[in-house]
Structure formats: structure tokens, C-alpha cells
Symmetry: C2
Subunit: 445 residues, 2 copies
């Protein structure tokens, strides 16, 4: 299905290309941003009736932005020149509404871009639209988005549309945010790469607050290299730059951690974790089973902190216009009310004390290998529940970077992700490892 | 100087009344909100040419809001009905610009109120305008505001106009935010009551981020009771409700803490701390001098965390339009670049580990008594520097509530505040203690 462009002929449809594949063509002018945008727009138009990934999508304004990017002389083209990025609709944009899937914000266009959007635009990105989210990024009731691999199943949430849009090849890149498992879980369900970086490594200004000490901006793409592209524009450097090139598996040591959420693991997750461990061993790595009883209180601590902080975030709207919040958001605000100040500080301080301990421990391994979700994407129920974040909440609380890799599938043919985890601020090391591990997990790619 | 109103005659000018004094008159309809607003507007109009407390002030829209409040039937009037509140100009309002004293935001009107503004409006407050701030609430270069007690001296910052507007009796209440000493220091310099509550006790959504783990919304008023009024609408309850009535000083035990910043104390601060200790002893309280060597690393940890996190907040604008940031904001972004990830996490984790220890220690006392500033408000210099936050940064880092009380003066006749500190989430206890201590510090009031 070759496509003809000005000077460029691809053997694959343009929408299938990753950011790293299409980026050089755009920067070098072998493909115009407008042509690329038209290809993606037509992909969205053919698929969106089944997927519903977008909360705001306006082809005319996309094309206007594309033409502006095309008019830039080559020496002014940024590292993301012309690359289409979807933004979770809790992220402020000054040229599109930011509606948070909540009637309070219906049609409201923020006065300024979130700084993370400013940085995307500075790098030349083509902001493609706003992706669907659960209400205010906090509700567990899903938007009308369907999983691209099977429309009867949930794409996960709360960064629902960001995961679905990347998986369904509407855009190569998307931004989301995670408070429990809102990036890693949808990445797993939709079979894409997801990165939840270290907490506050990327500015969360202009991104709706849910639980301030947990909320973390995260990324979706279809390759690890594409995620690295995003981390570079956000300045996510490690203290020590990892060596270039492939990981030497014979010198690598992985710890497989079932985590305190293991009792929730379905057979698909059990099998995926075993398959990942076997693949790493087959590649020559040392693989150790690691029990971490220190993590046992973390799920409850996370739940306590999230509920108490959610109440702070929701209190104004809950007081002024509760009928405009959905049942899940209201219930969260009410639950937070029953958490005492001392229960909250005990949970908060407990997690905080564990962070340096965990960093030291995780630092002894190339990476920790752990599930991304309890199983395959669940069948959609009446309220479109987005699945369990149990396997993600622990790492969000510890604020460590997590990448979810696709490549494995469950008994229903749905993707099952595998998470790699490192100490805080080791994103570049993590992504280098992930790139090699991704090949081992999905050798046919 | 009596003022006549519909059914109300005051022996004092209306602008001199505290919120608790004027509140019942407004709620009971003995004074219309419009009349009250007109009195304050005329106070602002006569004083503003000397004070410059306001970044946005529009009498017509204030009067329109006042008339709307007057039209509310008595049973729909909230606890802040008609009370005028100034908002630091880093707090989003959907009917006034939020300019952050930064050309990037010139004339920009946010699409939504910050939740803290929604809660004020829900309680019936009359939003009076936006108060001056240093750039983005982070710069050390002052806005054109003068100290109401002496126009040659700084009112402090970064919540400059909020402190000055309350001190100069333009409004009885104002909201600010503190990352190092941006509420407590200007409260001290301007001779008003300031409260920095526990971190994240009030939602900071829609309040510009400077250093996310330190920034804390705070309050200004001319009486402790007025501060309590604000804490009530924000739901700042303690786990245990303090007993009603006055503090029994004979059963009270205070710890005087000079803190690791003591080497910066000027004679005015030394004398004020001694005077406060003597006044508490004279009232019958036990007063202990407490050395806390555990706090010694906190100033450096605070500086590290603030600089590293400031860089995250400023990075987008620094990259895209550095010429629109002032020299102090630019310098902070640059300084953050030289802080390694491990230096940051060591500082962050060090503070986090100290918090429960400090809470337990502070909980043994009725309150800790400590300086609010290094001395009297400094003379304004060429760049209108806002003074040193050294005595505040420690408590901001520990996230504990701090109230600054006026009542003492320095050798130049300028106010010198005294801070009271308690464990996290003890705002109501702190304010009850502060109310009694305020009488002891300024017995003639």
C-alpha cells in the first residue's frame, strides 16, 4: 500500500511509521508536514467511529499548524518537527478546549499552554488534538473509547485516548498522566510502549491535579526509541549518561518482583511474567526472583495518600456543583473525608522513607521486571470500568520510572505488558535496557 | 470619622474593620456589600498611588459583584458574605487577568477560577482584585509596591501586594503563597497576621507552580480570628478539635527556637524574640530554649529542592522565551541545572525523613516560638529586593503550619513579627494559641 509524496515513497502507510522513522523525512523535507498530517487525519477519520480516542480533533487547525511548520527553514526545525502528538484532555492548550471529560469545563479554552505543551511546540511537534480521559483524570468510569485490539474490551484509563490513539496508529506519540496506573495500565492493555518517568521530572503545571504527590506526566509510543525522543526534549537526563549501544545481556542482572499485588494476577499476567523471565534468561541475563516484603504496606499507603489528596483537589467543585461530577469522582471526594490527618501523614511519611531504601535496592539490578496489569484488558462493563492499577500504584508511590513493553499476548489474543523499573531519575538507563528487552520479548519485530 | 450607611453607623471607618467585625453587618444586611465595597474602593483610590499593592483593580466590576451579593436572600449568604479578598496575581481567576508580573501572561484571563477562588466565591467573598507579586512568584526582584509603614522600605515578597493591601487596610483578607518565606516574611514586614498552613492543606490547582513540593497557599489578615474564618471555609480541621476559649498560659509550654538561621538575625529580631519569650513567661507560660541540631541541614536541603524544582517549572519558558523572564527567574533556572539528581533526592529524602521526627518533637510543646524574619523590613534597594526568607524556609520544608503575629516593633519603628509553629495539620490548635499569644504580644489592642 505504497503512498506517493513529493519526493518520498514509503512501502508502508505513513500512519504506521514510528516517530523515529518519519521524523527524519519531515525534518529533511522529503515529506511535508501537511502530507503527513493528511495521512494521519484520514487514518483518524476512518477509525475514530470505532475507537473514539479523541475528545477534541479539528482537521482544519491541524492542517493550518502543519503548513506553518512546513514554512520553517530547515535550520529552524526542531527534534520533533512535524511529529503528531496527542494530549490527554486534562492538559492545558491555548488553542483547543481542555474539558477534562467534565461538564464544568465544557468548551473552555485555557489562556496558556501547559509548559509541557510549550516544550513540545518549541521542539516542532504538531499538536494533533486532545485525547479522551476519565473525568478529571481521576474517575474510574471510562470514556466511550474502545480498545483497538478488540472493541469489546477496555483500553484502560485514565489516559484512555492517549493509549488508544497510539495503538490504533492515529499518532505516533501521546502524552498522559498517571496517579495510580493511568499510563502503564492502558499501555499494557493497548499493546504500546508507556513510560511513567520519575515524579515531577516533567512539569505538571497546566495538568489537572488529582493527587499532587502522585500525579506524574507520562508518554505513549509504539517504540522505545520514540519514548526516548520525548525524554530528550524534556531534559530527562540521568546523573550518569548510560553507554551507547545494545545492552550486554551476559552482564545483566534482572530481579523479577511479583509485588504485593500478586494475589490479583490473572493467568495471563502470570504467564507473561514467566515468559519475560525465560526470554531474559535465554538472552544470557541473570534473572533472580526477588521478594520485597518492604513493599507490603505500599498499596494501602498509596490508596490513603491518593484518597486524601483527591479530596483536596475535588473539594471546591464538590462543594459548589457536585451534580457536575460523576459518581466515581464524588465517591473519591467523600472517601477522602474519612481519612484522618495522622493516617495520611503516616502513609505519606512511610512511602517517603521507603524511597531511598528502594532506590538503593533497585540500583543493584539492571532493572526490576514486574507486571504492568492484572491481566489482559477487561471486557467493557456497563460503566466502562478501566481495570485495576494494582500493579502500578506501588511504583507511582515510590516515584520511580517505569516502562511498559508490549510483545506478549494473553489467552484472548490481547496484549499483556511487562514493566521494567529502576531507581528514580534513571530514565535513560531504563530506556536503553528497555530497547534491548523489547527485542527479546518480541523477537519478530 | 463616622460613616453613615443604610441602617448602620460605625464609629470607625469601614476599611479599618476586620473581616470578623464587618462580616455580621454584611450578612445581617445592616450594611450593604455595595456600600462596604465603595468604602474600600475609596480607601484604595486614596492610598494606591503611594502603595501600589494591586496588579489588577477594577472598581466597576467589584461594584457589579457587590450588587449581586446584595441581591442574595439572607439564607443564601455564606460565611464570607461580602468580605473583600485580594488574590496574589499568580492565582487564576476567570474574570480578571492573571499576569504573574511576567510579560508572557500580559492580559491573559484564565478559563477557570482556581479551586481556592471557587471556594471563596462559594462562601460569598467579594474578590477585590489581584495583588502584586514578584515575577511568577519566584523572583527576588520586587514589584513597585511600598511598605505601608514606610514607603522607603520593602513590603517583602513574593506575596507582596497581599501583605501590603491588608496592612494598608484596602481589604481585610488576602491570599498568597509561600515557597521559602513568601507569606510569613511580608506579614512580618507589614505588621499583619500571616498563616502558612500545612503543605497541600489547600488546593494549589490554578496557582502557578514554583517548587511543587514546597509551594503552599497562605493567608493574610489583621486579626487571628479573620485567619480562622479562612481556614474554616477551606476545611482546615485538626484531627482533634481544640477546646474553645482562651489558652490557659499557666498550663502552656513554649519552646523558643533560634533555628539554624540565627546567625542572620539582626538586633531587631533578637530583641523581638526575647520580648516574646518574656511576654509569654509574664503571662504564666513555661518557656524553654530549645536547640534543634537536627534542623542544621534543612536550609541547604530546602535551597537544593527549591532550585532543582524551580528549574522544572521555568524550563519551558526559559527555553522558548528567556528574554521574557527577569534576571532572578533566569538565574534560578540556570542554578537548578547544576544540581545533580542524587543531590536533589538526598535533600528531598532528608527533609521527608525529618518531618515525622519534627512533628513528634514539636507536639510536646504548646507551640514553637521562632523569628518571622531576619529583622525589620529592609530599605528598598535598586532592584527592590524583598528580603531574606532564611527564618521561614525551614518550616516550609517541614510543611508545618506557621502563623506570624504582629505586635512588636524594631528600632526604626517597623513591625517585627514572631512565628508560632506546630506539627503538620494542627492549624486550629495553632490559631487558638496564636489568638491568646497575640493579646500578650500587643496588650494595648
Amino acid at each position: 500500500m505504497a503512498q506517493m509524496t513529493g519526493t518520498f515513497t514509503s512501502s508502508r502507510p505513513l500512519h504506521e511509521l514510528t516517530a523515529c522513522e518519519v521524523g527524519p523525512l519531515l525534518r529533511e523535507g522529503r515529506l511535508s508536514v501537511e502530507e503527513y498530517a493528511r495521512a494521519l487525519i484520514s487514518r483518524v477519520q476512518s477509525r475514530e467511529p470505532d475507537i473514539h480516542a479523541w475528545a477534541f480533533f479539528d482537521p482544519e487547525s491541524i492542517l493550518a499548524s502543519a503548513r506553518k511548520l512546513d514554512s520553517l527553514p530547515p535550520d529552524q526545525r526542531g527534534p520533533l518537527h512535524g511529529l503528531a502528538v496527542g494530549l490527554k484532555d486534562i492538559i492545558d492548550t491555548d488553542d483547543m478546549p481542555t474539558e477534562h471529560n467534565c461538564p464544568i469545563f465544557k468548551g473552555k479554552v485555557p489562556a496558556s499552554d501547559a509548559p509541557l505543551v510549550t516544550m513540545l511546540r518549541s521542539a516542532g511537534a504538531l499538536i494533533f488534538g486532545k485525547t479522551s480521559t476519565t473525568q478529571l483524570g481521576c474517575s474510574s468510569l471510562g470514556p466511550p473509547t474502545n480498545n483497538p485490539h478488540n472493541a469489546d474490551r477496555s483500553p484502560g484509563g485514565s489516559s484512555t485516548g492517549s493509549a488508544a490513539a497510539v495503538a490504533d496508529m492515529h499518532v505516533p506519540l501521546a502524552i498522559g498522566a498517571q496517579t495510580a496506573g493511568s499510563v502503564i495500565r492502558p499501555a499494557s492493555y493497548c499493546g504500546v510502549v508507556g513510560l511513567k518517568p520519575t515524579w515531577n521530572a516533567v512539569s505538571r503545571e497546566g495538568v489537572r491535579i488529582y493527587s499532587i504527590s502522585l500525579d506524574t506526566v507520562g508518554f505513549f509510543a509504539r517504540s522505545v526509541d520514540d519514548i526516548t525522543l520525548l525524554t530528550n526534549i524534556y531534559g530527562l537526563h540521568d546523573d550518569t549518561q548510560p553507554p551507547p549501544g545494545e545492552l550486554d545481556f551476559s552482564a545483566a542482572r534482572f530481579a523479577v518482583v511479583q509485588s504485593p499485588a500478586w494475589h490479583l494476577a490473572e493467568p495471563a499476567t502470570d504467564a507473561a511474567l514467566e515468559a519475560a523471565a525465560a526470554a531474559l534468561e535465554a538472552a544470557g541475563a541473570e534473572v533472580e526472583r526477588l521478594d520485597l516484603p518492604e513493599l507490603n504496606p505500599v498499596p494501602q499507603w498509596h490508596a490513603t495518600v491518593m484518597a486524601a489528596e483527591a479530596r483536596i483537589s475535588l473539594l471546591a467543585d464538590y462543594g459548589a456543583r457536585p451534580h457536575l461530577l460523576d459518581a466515581s469522582a464524588r465517591a473519591q471526594c467523600e472517601a477522602g473525608q474519612h481519612i484522618s490527618r495522622s493516617t495520611y501523614t503516616t502513609a505519606y511519611d512511610g512511602i517517603a522513607a521507603l524511597r531511598p531504601t528502594f532506590d538503593a535496592l533497585a540500583g543493584r539490578y539492571t532493572a526490576i521486571v514486574t507486571p504492568s496489569a492484572t491481566g489482559e484488558a477487561p471486557l467493557l462493563d456497563e460503566v466502562r470500568s478501566t481495570g485495576s492499577p494494582a500493579f502500578n500504584a506501588i511504583w507511582t508511590a515510590l516515584r520511580v520510572p517505569v516502562v511498559s513493553l508490549p510483545g506478549l499476548t494473553g489467552p484472548n489474543g490481547m496484549p499483556v505488558g511487562i514493566s521494567l523499573v529502576t531507581p528514580r531519575y534513571h530514565e535513560q538507563h531504563l530506556l536503553r535496557v528497555a530497547q534491548s528487552v523489547a527485542r527479546v520479548l518480541a523477537p519478530r519485530r
